[in-house]
Symmetry: C2
Subunit: 247 residues, 2 copies
DNA sequence: CAGTGGTCTAGACCACTGA
DNA sequence: CAGTGGTCTAGACCACTGA
């Protein structure tokens, strides 16, 4: 029972959900209410074309977007299937600590403990794609939220990508901001761990050496080459990472 | 200098990157090499149409996908702009512990410490959208990786969404698997923290009470209603969360 | 073979922006 | 007003799947 529409539709003047969006909302609602079990066959493009009285390209866009959102699986020559949810990846934002603190309406400042050139140890050289003993920049900062130490940032930088690194005033700019400006982040891997601070970190953060800390280690790559390796240590009692998952 | 192509293009028999994909690859490569600074104006659809000799819908698809990947910002009536990278959200996968352990090629088993009905305390009732004192299901399990305790799972479940919860054999199925089957996950919030285990958790995990632990607290919603609240405690020395960011 | 999704086209109408 | 992106259409050719 196809709905017949005029060949040239007039778009309603304001708003009126776009047809591709209507299809998405309809299918999302049905999926949410368990209309199809994971792996079950869903309507074909042709069926949706007939049901909504719209062109195939429009249905195709809706289904393609649902696929990229992980809600459906599509197989050429076979059909569209309800996806397995729950095993879906979640979104987590790791922002520059300066932005994060300001976004909360708090005051941020940083104290620089160390900022100099060193020679790469073998492990570090490997991570930064440099020969052992090559010069690297090393900085150690503490970031404060309204005067309370929130993060200890221990960072190594590949000098080729940020030759001016040592002359930057990290009281005014964060290392992350400087690096983003000179070497656009194109790839990064990170781990989130729980561990104890080193004795130096404990002192800088003004926490007992027994305080469990949230440790994020991140390696950043720009234009195919490693740029920086950073260890971010946060007192467990003062910091947590938040995330969400909404398909 | 537009490239003129025949009106009806023959698609190469095998592969040959699709035009919309060629445009994406081209723009990604340029962005990666810093062709446009963040916020800078990029070519319009019309310019790309001329440059690639393809139709506007095809260019539009390429740009729309780049936008949904967070690489460009588009503003109707104004243009397409290079996005701010780096402040982009990363992807993090929190999988069912059973799957995660098996994916490593290890042996998983679980031991059930507790599985019963309780009355909701006020805080819990709030989280699960129930009245205070309402019945809730409470389970406490330990998950083992090759015989080593990896995760302590302390979970509360809204009985309305999983009435059979207490009769499930969690030696064979994980709570996550059961809940996914009866109530498709539609929304979830989580936090990742570092902290000390409770004395009970320390005993169950066979770690000292001073061992820093990675704690994940997650609340899951299905069809608009809270389903479960879980606290996952992992010894910091045995577990870490990994993630990546690749635009 | 029929049915499925993957993709492209040439044209259209529209809303929005900023000069 | 010209230029931008947002969206839709009707048709087309294709590759792939499974009967």
């Amino acid at each position: 029972m196809a709905i017949i529409r005029p060949m040239k539709t007039r778009h309603a003047p304001h708003a009126a959900v776009a047809p591709y969006h209507r299809v998405k909302l309809h299918l999302k609602a049905e999926l949410q209410h368990g209309r199809w079990k994971p792996g079950e066959l869903m309507p074909s493009e042709a069926e949706l074309v007939a049901q909504f009285g719209i062109s195939r390209m429009t249905v195709n866009r809706a289904l393609r977007e649902l696929q990229s959102e992980g809600l459906v699986d599509r197989v050429q020559g076979v059909g569209t299937f309800a996806a397995q949810l729950g095993r879906v990846s979640s979104t987590l934002t790791i922002r520059d600590i300066h932005e994060e603190i300001e976004a909360r309406g708090h005051r941020h400042h940083a104290e620089v403990t160390l900022c100099r050139e060193e020679r790469a140890t073998s492990g570090l050289a490997l991570q930064l794609g440099l020969p052992e003993g090559a010069p690297v920049f090393h900085s150690l900062l503490v970031h404060f939220d309204n005067g309370i130490a929130l993060q200890c940032e221990d960072r190594f930088v590949n000098p080729q990508h940020a030759p001016d690194y040592l002359s930057v005033d990290f009281g005014r700019t964060t290392p992350t901001q400087h690096l983003l400006a000179v070497a656009p982040t194109w790839e990064a891997q990170f781990t989130i761990q729980s561990g104890l601070p080193t004795s130096q970190e404990a002192a800088l953060l003004a926490v007992p050496a027994t305080e469990p800390c949230l440790v994020i280690v991140r390696r950043t790559v720009s234009r195919g080459e490693p740029v920086t390796l950073v260890r971010l240590v946060h007192p467990g009692s003062r910091y947590q990472v938040q995330g969400q998952f909404t398909p």
